[in-house]
């Protein structure tokens, strides 16, 4: 297609550009030293073991090199000394909407949170900067015995539940950025679902960056006890900043025997954010974990949700949609580690590269020795819109022994000229036709999102393609 059309279907970032004056009562200043850690631990009033955990993580973070021997060299442009590692709006998590400051409400309004709230909210853990400012756990959820809070409260009030798994699914030293998060984490969601409880409404949290040069390091731990079911949704949008900013989360999921967890993300950071996230789940016997991951924003996203299939008949799934436009690199993928018999995993990834955007799929599937009846299926499809677009696929599959089956398939294609021609002769413009075609490409995955989210997702994709109409 022509460059003219390329600019036509480019993203209009200004639609998300809004910002309100900053007022931070708590601020750890710039840079990362042991003093920063002590400051954070002090402000949060954390137990000594957490402070120790943070200090140890800082040491590991400093000792680990950047993974640029396989990852993008763009990582080198992160200046860790120019980042503020902690600031809070001077408030503890609040339960009532009335308590939320007006300027924060205005920001959320642009994001559509109030509507979501009215419609279906089970509970909201909306993060504004690094501390949860709005936390509303619907009464019904609380009555079921579900714990839904931030990491500070979780580790303080329910250590018997959360400490056992905290940092166990993703150890501090898993990678450089998990170590960074472990050192300075603040905000996020800690959720515990008691045995047999099926949480009817999805639990939601909206995250937001609203301070220049400020990185978010939220920490999420979800434990679904035996036979329980929970769906968690995480959506991010961010206003545009002048300089690059860093977002590095750690998300740990534990699905005990027969439990089901669905974790849904719609990531739409502004195009200067480094989004380096570690997400992993442990699925015990007959448990099911499904990651649904949609990456639209950010400058560089590196995110490979994984499932460790620890118990017999456990099932892991990753559904991934990535959209990379000019100046963006969506480096996403999935990891499946089979550790028990009859475990199954499924990975479906679709990416769209527009303009000079680059989409990368990285995958890792492991079926070690002496397992029987394990199955993995991986499908990666990439769509290239412009001649300057780029896509890469780097899967790695290890299988030992007989009795297991793994298959991987990937394809790269462009929107077919015939399709565009057909739609154009039916009266659509080239840009409209292109937009329709792109929506069709991801439609079967979008449909897997819950109703509310698929609407939001379609809206976000429409936003990306908005300039193309007319």
């Amino acid at each position: 297609m022509t460059t003219e059309t390329a600019t036509q279907i480019g993203i209009d970032r200004s639609l998300g550009d809004f910002s309100y004056p900053e007022s931070h009562k708590f601020d750890a200043g710039y840079g990362l030293t042991p003093a920063t850690i002590d400051y954070i631990a002090g402000v949060k009033g954390e137990a000594d073991w957490i402070r120790e955990f943070r200090h140890q993580a800082l040491k590991i973070f400093n000792s680990k090199p950047m993974p640029t021997h396989w990852a993008s060299k763009d990582l080198e442009s992160i200046v860790f000394d120019n980042i503020r590692y902690y600031l809070a709006n001077g408030q503890r998590a609040t339960r009532s909407w009335e308590d939320v400051p007006d300027d924060v409400k205005r920001t959320f309004e642009r994001l559509g949170i109030p509507e979501q709230e009215r419609k279906f909210l089970a509970g909201v853990e909306a993060q504004f900067d690094s501390e949860a400012v709005y936390s509303n756990i619907k009464k019904a959820v609380g009555d079921q015995g579900v714990i839904f809070c931030g990491p500070t409260e979780g580790l303080r009030d329910h250590p018997e539940i959360f400490r056992k798994w905290f940092g166990k699914v993703i150890p501090i030293g898993d990678n450089k950025f998990s170590a960074l998060n472990s050192a300075v984490f603040s905000g996020g969601s800690f959720i515990y679902v008691p045995p047999g409880v099926k949480v009817k409404h999805p639990l939601q949290a909206y995250f937001r960056i609203n301070a220049e040069n400020f990185g978010q390091f939220e920490r999420t731990l979800i434990i679904a006890d035996e036979g329980s079911e929970v769906m968690y949704m995480e959506g991010c949008t961010a206003p545009k900043f002048e300089t690059a900013t860093l977002h590095s989360a750690v998300v740990e999921l534990v699905a005990l025997k027969g439990a089901k967890i669905q974790y849904i993300t719609v990531q739409n950071w502004s195009a200067n954010v480094f989004n380096l996230v570690t997400k992993r789940a442990i699925a015990h016997e007959e448990a099911e974990v499904k990651w649904i991951d949609c990456n639209i924003g950010s400058r560089l996203t590196m995110k490979y949700p994984g499932v460790v299939l620890k118990g017999r008949k456990a099932r892991g799934e990753v559904i991934s949609i990535a959209l990379a436009n000019d100046g963006q690199h969506q480096d996403t993928g999935a990891k499946m580690k089979h550790e028990a018999d009859e475990t199954t995993s499924n990975i479906v990834s679709k990416s769209i590269s527009i303009g000079k955007g680059r989409a990368t799929y990285r995958g890792r599937v492991e079926v070690p020795k002496h397992l029987k009846g394990c199955k993995n299926n991986t499908e990666c499809d990439a769509l290239l819109i412009n001649s300057t677009s780029r896509t890469d696929t780097y899967p790695a599959i290890t299988v030992i022994g007989t009795g297991n089956a793994c298959q991987h398939e990937a394809s790269v294609s462009q929107v077919s000229a015939e399709q565009i021609f057909y739609m154009q002769q039916r009266g659509l413009t080239e840009a409209q036709a292109m937009s329709l075609s792109v929506n069709g490409f991801v439609n079967d995955l979008v449909r897997q999102f819950p109703m509310e989210y698929s609407v939001e997702l379609k809206r976000l994709i429409d936003l990306e393609m908005e300039g193309s109409v007319g």
């Binding site: 297609m1 021997h69 396989w70 079926v367 020795k369 002496h370 990439a382 290239l384 819109i385 412009n386 001649s387 300057t388 677009s389 780029r390 896509t391 890469d392 696929t393 780097y394 899967p395 790695a396 599959i397 290890t398 299988v399 030992i400 022994g401 007989t402 009795g403 297991n404 089956a405 793994c406 298959q407 991987h408 398939e409 990937a410 394809s411 790269v412 294609s413 462009q414």
Partner: protein, 454 residues
Amino acid sequence: MSTAVLDFEEMQQPPAEESGALTAAGPLNGQPDRSPQWLRETRAAAWDTFSALPMPTRKDEHWRFASLKTLDLSLFKQPLPLDEAARNGLRARSRGLENVAGRMVFGNDQLLSRDVFSEQLRQKGVIWLPLEDAAIAHPDLFRKHFMREEAILGGKKFAALHQSQAKAGAFLYIPRGVEIDLPLETFHWLSGSHGSCFPHTLIVADEMARATVIDRFASADSHSAGLACGVNDLWLGAGAQLTYVCVQDWSRKTLAFQMNSTVVGRDATAKALTLNLGGSHIRSESVSHLRSPGGRSEMLAVSLADGSQEFDQRAFQIHEAPHTSSDLLYKNSLDDHSRSIFSGLIRVDPGAHQTDAYQKVRNLLLSDDAEANSAPGLEIEADDVRCTHGATSGQIEAEELFYLQSRGINRTDAQRLIVFGFVQEVIDRLGHGAITSNLSEFVQAKFKDSPRLP
């Protein structure tokens, strides 16, 4: 061209003497070095590069999954001398295809024989010479093509080692429009304990030329340890058609490196197939450069691993020009504790539109201890392309076995039949009757020699 180069002259053999460790000078075996000055200089420079480069490490993406402990080069000596009886023995064992245009035999990097059976070669100006003779007689042609493409898949150090030592192998130049109907065959034998050899194959197919070349690697005795470090350079001019086959049957204690480079010109078609049977640890790197529009490269491999064999295969399909196609199919059958590694990449350069690239690796696991690693990759920087890859790992289906057993075939034979069928698909892609049936014989022989049947 002169006919003199086609006359066979057996080289004077030096007296047997003790060979030392690998050195910068390379193997001389007591002979004066016949190489021209420029070649000696490139060898010396290559030795310096080899010495300066570090051994691969865990961190190196090109060596992901590979066992690095088994790569100790210090165990090996330079090519060992051969006595008259050994030379005669190897010559006698060098039987390949019934009908060939020519046959060259090397043992421990020494030329043992060179026979030209086809008058075609002489008449049509084909140059087919031992590597060193070609460097002396055709320095310009040689220098233009000898190891001009860098080893970009991690084997730089080993390619440098090869370049510092390479003296054996066949050089083939096919002039414009010349078609050689019968295959040209070259044997490389590795003999003695802890010796080494450095086979090189350099083929330059000029415009519209056509040829089929087969290399056979084997050890004189199946229990000796050895090192083989080979390189092949295939160059295809516009419209050329080249089929290259390599049968690798080193001893079970051989450490082998093989770096292959194919440069495909306009509307040319390259087809390469490797049959991997022997070796303890085999590392092979194959790069196809689709350099001009209309070029096509087919990359095929069959590896039959058992015992504790490790076959580490890396492939790179580089589409540098528009309207090019590549098609890779590697199949591995893995028994006992064997391991396979396949790491492949299809790269489409900016502007290389209308690329049609395919890559497929299939692993058949026959034992509970066999391990298959697959990492097929894509890097695409043009939009009007069709690129697909696939990787599968599985085992023989119980239903298939049951079906065959119900027809009166015992379990062992049934398994064998299924494995043959599995790999035969690749071999058939050669479309060359005599070579196809010859390769099938090798596949069957491997199972016969196997202590435990699949």
